[in-house]
């Protein structure tokens, strides 16, 4: 059955395929999707927290006091999604933690810490991929800017 997470998988798939110049790879697609979600949530959260501290009204998506709390919540959500969600979300990390033996399914408590430990030759993200995908953080900045404009925020910064 095609579910919401299969759809999300397709968001990560084409990106990794464009970067690699090869076809879709299930492990890399899942890892790319989850990494992008982590980066987007965490970057948005960090920008909110930092802007609340420095008083950058043009980047605040909410009031300054809320931005500190919700910013932290976004950061935590990003980490939880990337490192803990495989316990409940199915992916190519069921069964054995070794990528080459992975089955489709959720991870277990015993295998959770090994889920993201995949060599880039077997579908993991290389350092170059990681740095490239960090650029998604710009979307976190864009989201902050748009939400700030919708709030009608004004200020010198």
């Amino acid at each position: 059955m095609v579910g919401i997470w299969d759809f999300w998988l397709w968001l990560g798939g084409p990106l990794s395929a464009i970067v690699d110049g090869v076809g879709l790879d299930l492990i890399r697609s899942a890892l790319t999707r989850d990494y992008l979600i982590l980066v987007l949530l965490a970057c948005f959260g960090v920008i909110q927290m930092a802007s609340a501290r420095s008083g950058r009204a043009k980047l605040l998506a909410m009031s300054s006091s809320s931005a500190s709390r919700f910013g932290l919540a976004f950061i935590v959500a990003g980490y939880v999604w990337f490192f803990i969600a495989p316990l409940v979300v199915s992916g190519p990390w069921g069964g054995s933690p070794a990528a080459v033996h992975a089955e489709w399914g959720p991870a277990s408590i015993e295998t959770l810490s090994a889920v993201r430990g995949v060599n880039d030759t077997l579908g993991g993200l290389s350092a170059n991929h990681q740095v490239l995908y960090l650029a998604v953080g710009v979307a976190g900045w864009g989201l902050s800017r748009v939400l700030s404009m919708l709030r009608g925020s004004r200020g010198p910064r």
Partner: protein, 193 residues
């Protein structure tokens, strides 16, 4: 392999596989994601968190960190080509490996060098965050020795090279003067800094 290198490696790797909790921590800390994403987020925070005067110090420090990382990478590649040795699990018979068996050259430890370069560059402008990222680098190095994928000498070389390039990155940004000021001025106009 130097005897001291082997002795320290065996002592640390002996901790692997004894306690599941420690193994999980080692996999997370020594993995490819946790400390790198966290360091990148710290840099992002530093970029936007400074009030007027602070921003004038913190944003160049972020630029120095990025410069250090960009410059250290080709040097790491050159050093690894000049001085190469196999990974511990390819050398010793009884190594407990907690993560995937990397296939690239281990000397010097690239991830440790990158984190230390960032930490060293920050240390000169934002001491607490600098020490934190240096701690990340050290923690990553120790975790990767326990995990059986690096020799202690790989980690020490990564720390030394990273520290040197952290300082070089800072030197470049501090002496660059107008180009850095103009870049920051343009970014500030666009609310990007």
């Amino acid at each position: 392999m130097a005897p001291a290198d082997e002795i320290v490696f065996l002592w640390l790797n002996d901790l692997a596989g004894r306690w599941p909790i420690l193994d999980d921590v080692v996999r997370l800390v020594g993995g490819d994601y946790l400390l790198f994403v966290s360091s990148a987020l710290l840099l992002l925070w530093l970029w936007f968190a400074g009030r007027k005067l602070e921003a004038g110090i913190w944003q160049p420090a972020v630029l120095a960190s990025l410069t250090a990382v960009v410059l250290v990478n080709p040097i790491l590649w050159l050093v690894s080509q000049a001085i190469s040795h196999p990974r511990p699990f390819d050398t010793l018979a009884e190594v407990t490996v907690l993560t995937y068996r990397a296939t690239d050259l281990p000397f010097p430890s690239n991830p440790v060098a990158a984190l230390v370069a960032v930490g060293a560059a920050l240390l000169l402008s934002k001491v607490d965050l600098g020490w934190l990222v240096l701690g990340f680098g050290l923690g990553l190095g120790v975790a990767r020795i326990i995990a059986g994928v690096h020799w202690p000498s790989d980690v020490l070389a990564g720390i030394a090279i990273g520290a040197i390039f952290g300082w070089i990155g800072t030197l470049i940004i501090r002496t660059s003067g107008r180009p850095t000021d103009r870049l920051l001025a343009i970014l500030r106009k666009a609310s990007l800094a």
